[in-house]
């Protein structure tokens, strides 16, 4: 058993990454408690998506530590290994499997054995069906179960991707701009859904929409030029002079 270095579920310390000399993430430090929900805001290009790329193994940081569960060094693992540890991700641009039906998208995401020979001999089962039914209810796509994911609207794809996260049932969910392109009513419903999910999962949400962030009612981290500018309650950070300058004041 490895020694637990920290009690945080996610621990980033002094993380930096540069693309052709441009520092997209600049000695970023951030910690997430088990069970916490955290909103991350910041102007375009602040490095929010890049931060998620680092956590999920898509981008290797040049320096810094990224620890999951206090023991696992995420910088040494690839995407599949990190996903199997229990870190799920919803992308900024919704990416679902367009050739598959809504139901099959969820089925592929559903927690379970991911090895070739298990999926080869996989059989449909009632518990699995019921799980998919429940998720379809939650994301309100029950009537589109058999529809090809390519035919969904932008908002529906966002929801399907959240549904896929639910199916994956990870310990930590990374949700990148979930309400982009949604109507007000849809935005509100999404906030509800995320709060529901946050009851038994840790969640990091990146979002621009201030009304939405207010709705989430959680601790907020402001990212700017690849590092943390301010952190705390939304009212506290939005009163911060530097935050107003770089972000809210514009």
């Amino acid at each position: 058993m490895e020694l637990k270095v920290t009690d945080y579920l996610l621990y980033l310390d002094g993380v930096s990454v540069a693309f052709d000399g441009f520092k997209a993430i600049n000695s970023l430090s951030l910690t997430i408690e088990p069970g916490e929900m955290r909103a991350i805001i910041g102007p375009n290009g602040a490095g929010k998506t890049t931060m998620m790329d680092i956590i999920t193994g898509k981008t290797r940081p040049d320096t810094g530590d990224v620890l999951f569960d206090g023991t696992v060094d995420l910088t040494q693992l690839d995407e599949a290994a990190i996903a199997n540890l229990g870190i799920g991700r919803k992308f900024q641009k919704p990416t679902v499997f367009e050739m598959h039906t809504v139901e099959d998208n969820l089925r592929l995401a559903l927690k379970g054995d991911r090895r070739v020979f298990s999926t080869l001999f996989w059989r449909d089962s009632t518990p699995e069906r019921e799980k998919i039914d429940r998720i379809l209810d939650t994301i309100r796509l029950g009537h589109l179960r058999e529809a090809s994911a390519a035919n969904l609207s932008h908002g529906q794809k966002q929801w399907l991707e959240i549904g896929m996260l639910l199916a994956q049932d990870p310990k930590l969910l990374l949700v990148d701009e979930p309400v982009a392109g949604m109507t007000d009513a849809e935005t509100e419903a999404t906030a509800h859904l995320l709060k529901e999910i946050a009851k038994d999962h840790s969640v990091i949400v990146v979002e621009h929409d201030m009304a939405f962030v207010r709705e989430l009612d959680c601790k907020v981290t402001v990212l700017h030029e690849g590092s943390v500018l301010a952190e705390g309650a939304l009212d506290h950070v939005s009163a911060d002079q530097r935050v107003i300058e770089v972000y809210l004041g514009r």
Partner: protein, 380 residues
């Protein structure tokens, strides 16, 4: 229960396909053996062998469609796996010649005696035993595909780059098999076969049986491929094809899935090659020519990528056209025709013969429904 599962796995297209194969298994022997030679219904043995050759190509096309159509791996080297399977079968057939060769050496094939070799190279041992040779028909291409895929898929080589290195693979094999000291008969390859399992290779009956076995192999390969693409693993493959990186973030080891399907497909190609060699009577390095592998891609594209049945039909149609073309005055223009065919299907029939036909039928059905609705609506 098992039959139910089996039928659920097949779509209407698959049932028709297997039905046609079954009909051919019953009818062709009758038309060849029972119907008298003079009758217009008589199927001569040369035609049986020609069809047998096409069917081998159909299996090869099916194998390629499994990796290209479902996993997005555009292999331009499947001809190499086909040829390897062919060589394994050829080695068995060579050893069956025994002392009946020109030099009458009971162990060494003629070309080895000619090269002044004193003993059989180690890798020729065991090929006098049919079961061992059949094992090699699957293992040799399977192993090559596994090793190649292991490196390529782990380093995440995809798209055009992967296609190019598969071309390089088959070209490297071509050069290697050309060399006399490789021990595979060099330029001339392996030929002058006498018998297979004690039956003369050239006899009408053997040819008919080989044809029937090829039909059976095509049916079995189709059923296996269909079982894979309709399983959950098949859905993962399609997910990899359309959004590889997304699939990784769900926790699937993409490289394992690719390796599995690539290796299996190479073994299918090897089987096709093994059935091909006794029917055409020769295997030589030209089977490794890069152009051969590219032709397979054209068959699949013409028939319909990602449909399995389409791949088989494409292989048969294009080769029918090729035989017709290359035996007439138009022979020198065949490659141009093939190129044009590829360009035209890509532009105007991106779903191939099968896909276009399905679309046309769908449209017609819709029209019929509309017409039925219109006629039941009372006139205003």
């Amino acid at each position: 229960m098992l039959t139910n599962r089996f039928l659920a796995m097949l779509d209407a297209r698959g049932r028709i396909f297997l039905g046609v194969i079954l009909a051919a298994i019953v009818l062709v022997p009758i038309l060849n053996l029972v119907v008298p030679t003079g009758s217009s219904l008589h199927v001569p043995t040369w035609l049986v062998s020609l069809m047998g050759k096409y069917l081998c190509y159909a299996i090869l096309a099916l194998a390629l469609d499994l990796v290209w159509g479902y996993a997005g791996i555009l292999s331009l080297g499947h001809g190499a796996f086909f040829a390897l399977g062919g060589y394994a079968m050829g080695m068995y057939l060579m050893r069956q010649i025994g002392a009946r060769g020109v030099y009458a050496n009971p162990i060494l094939p003629d070309f080895m005696v000619f090269l002044n070799w004193k003993e059989l190279p180690w890798f020729w041992h065991g090929f006098d035993m049919f079961p061992f040779a059949m094992l090699m028909v699957l293992l040799a291409p399977g192993l090559l595909a596994f090793v190649f895929g292991w490196f390529a898929f782990r380093s995440r080589v995809t798209g055009v780059y992967l296609s190019i290195i598969t071309q390089a693979l088959t070209y490297a094999m071509l050069l290697a098999f050309f060399r006399n000291d490789m021990g595979f008969g060099g330029n001339n390859g392996l030929t002058d076969f006498k018998d297979i399992l004690g039956y003369p290779v050239q006899s009408d009956m053997t040819r008919l049986v080989l044809f029937l076995l090829t039909l059976l192999a095509l049916a079995l390969c189709y059923i296996l491929a269909r079982a894979i693409v309709t399983s959950k693993a098949g859905k993962v493959l399609v997910a990899v094809r359309d959004a590889e990186s997304r699939t990784r973030f769900l926790g699937f080891r993409v490289e394992h899935y690719k390796l599995f399907v690539f290796t299996l497909s190479a073994m299918m190609a090897g089987l096709a090659g093994a059935l091909y060699v006794p029917q055409v009577g020769i295997i030589n390095p030209s089977e490794f020519q890069p152009g051969n592998s590219i032709e397979v891609v054209i068959w699949v594209a013409v028939g319909g990528r990602g449909t399995l049945v389409g791949a088989a039909i494409g292989a048969i149609l294009v080769n029918l056209a090729k035989t017709t073309f290359t035996t007439g005055a138009l022979a020198p223009y065949w490659l141009f025709a093939l190129g044009a065919l590829f360009v035209l299907t890509t532009l105007y029939m991106p779903k191939g013969v099968i896909g276009t036909f399905a679309e046309w039928r769908e449209k017609r059905r819709e029209k019929a429904v509309l017409a039925a609705n219109a006629s039941t609506t009372p006139a205003e």
